[in-house]
Amino acid sequence: MNKGRIKVALALALVAVLAFVAVGARKTAMKLAQDAAQKVYVPPGEYDEFYAFLSGGFNGQIGVYGLPSGRLLKIIGVFSQNPRNGYGYNPETRPMLMTSHGFIPWDDTHHPELSQTNGVPDGRWLFVNANNTPRIARIGLKYMETEEIIEIPNSAGNHPSSFITENSEYLTAGTRFSVPIPQKDIPIDQYKGNFKGTLSFISIDPKTGKMDVAFQILVPGFDYDLAHCGKGPSHDWCFFTSYNTEEAHTLLEINASQHDKDFIAAVNWKRAEECVKEGKYETWHTPYAHNWFDEKKHMAFSEIKKEEKVIKPDQCPGVVYFIPTPKSPHGVDVSPDGKYILGDGKLSATMAVFSFDKMIKAIKEKKFAGDAYGIPILDFESVLDHYVKNVCLGPLHTESDGKGYAYTSCFISSEVVKWKWSTGEIVDRIPVYYSIGHLMIPGGDSAKPWGKYLLAMNKITKDRYLPTGPELNQSAQLIDITGDKMKLLLDFPTVGEPHYAQALPASMIKDKQARIYNLKENEHPYATKSEKNVKVVRKGHEVHVYMTAIRSHFVPDNIEGVKVGDTVYFHVTNLEQDWDIPHGFAVFGAPTSNNLIMPGETKTLVWKPEKPGVYPFYCTDFCSALHQEMQGYVRVSPADANPPMIWRGGGREGKWIVEQ
């Protein structure tokens, strides 16, 4: 053999080896992908294991997803109008979006929280906060619709909300943006000492779920960021993180990052209850809206309330203490056994784990390191149990798996870190794409997590999906946490910007889902329960059309007699009584959304026609083979005309009823 041949032979051998290695690596990658695919694959016709409720951030809704598949099951309109079904557009639901500032068609949903019994999600209700105009909403899990919204008075930037106590006694609310409380016109540079915060407790009626502002605690003007309440031994307490203890009012990025430590406010809500009972509070009169949906009347109502109980900590000693916490902490999380309280110190690579027992001891022994506006600051070392050292960059939030481990999301280093609650020992890390905010384990902030999956809700999507111009949907990633090593299973895009999420086993609520609104129980004042009862009523310039919809016709489908200057109310009742036969209703030129009307439901579309002509209306939901035929006409005559007032439809015809 000459040298040339040897070289060729060696080169060929090398290529063969490399090819073999490459094929091997590809096979391994494919095997991993197949394993992951199998774990998230839900075959056609079968169901997901968990319902997950993700907030929609600036889109103002709740998204209901199935896990592990990541299927989007439903969008629930909460603080934002939902053109899909008319929520917040039609007169039945517009009162849900009333506030003391008037009608607001938008907000920013952040932290969903399931109702709990004995510290465990019980499948009754889901709550979520509005960050911009402070509010909390309650969503019923039978109809999966928003049933109640309460505004939080004396507040701004309702971010540490809506976290729940162990037996759903209260939900938390608080001021991320301190403001003059009560509001007044003062120069912004007089922030220090003049701006205040409130930490509010919203009571929940155990039978009906109805919410009320129970009491508000007036606190110094820091930025109260997140919260979680205790369980087990720490049952009586809720914990709120704060940043900007510097009380900066401009360029907070720098000016609010000066202190090495900010505070966790530890609130003893049982003590607050005592003070309320003993009359140690002030009654204030800041107006706030309370809105609720009457399931039988298919209609929302709104009232303005004007009385709240405000507790000043110096009049109720023992109600609140500050725990120094490194540094500008974001999340505050409690271990499932209620023994540890963690401050996720956003700007610190080391997190402090506090002991509840030590906190109680420090309070008893008065181990204080001064006070802030009269509120005792506990001695850091006396409350500290241990550190989680060099956890990551930008730790934000922590959830638990119920097996002694905690999982912390890290925004800056873009990873999830698994560590041991009792020692702070780090046992695993996994990168996420990209820049995770909240994470969620089903029941992961409760006493008994279902520790099978972890959902990372990432803030930055970049190149994860096919590009869609500059604006991209946010990205969630599902991680298997059943083994020693975390395993990435699935990417899926989410609607809006999910901040936090909650999940529970599907079996807990699947069979309780309503399928229809029972027509017999429909108490809508304008319901039409049979085609026999269809009518058109004129009351001055108001025209009320009592209309029915069933596959595939409206009765009436011809309406004549409307004049410019009239306001027409189309009260459409869907007569169907079987699952999943909605009908839609839209009128040409009406400046509002369509209504999507569920079986047995009544909804109203309001229209003020401005020009004479003949206007079609139609069913917007493809309901049957003859859906295209499901249409009708309204004739609009000039204001001074005298058209016949008649209707036709369903083989019937009639004259309008004219009431004075």
């Binding site: 399928r515 229809i516 049979s530 085609e531 069933i550 009584q577 079987d578 036969i581 049957s624 083989g651």
Partner: protein
Amino acid sequence: MRWVKALLLAAGVAFALGAATGVQAAQPKCAIQAKLPPKGLPKGLGPYANKTLELSPCVDKELAKKGEQLFEQYCSGCHKITQRYVGPPLKGVTIARSPEWIMNLFLNTQEMVWNDPIAKALLQQYLTVMRPPADATEKDFRAIYEYLRYIDATGKTEVK
């Protein structure tokens, strides 16, 4: 005294039996004589496929009255009695179809329109799948059936 008790018991049983057979024997004349369908009609698919729905030769007026209300509430948006509407006119349906077939259509609609030859042919003609109310019970459907029987027996749509 034990024999007294035994005698009383025996007498009681005999009386009960007598009363029961008595009712059957002395069938009262029907206030409304039903028009029964011929025997041997197809039963369709579903819970009544292998069952017989025993029909009284008399129309149960009270049940038909209840059925009339339910029909108004649940069926009238799609069915008229003598005219085609969304679905077929219903006059004569209780004579043309077996009671089992009608109950199966109520209780097992999707399978019926997929696989039963008569229901399939009706769907081809009317192009809309019947969707009986989700919350109605078998008793409710039986009442609606009795109302249809009343119509076929009397030619009237109002139960009086």
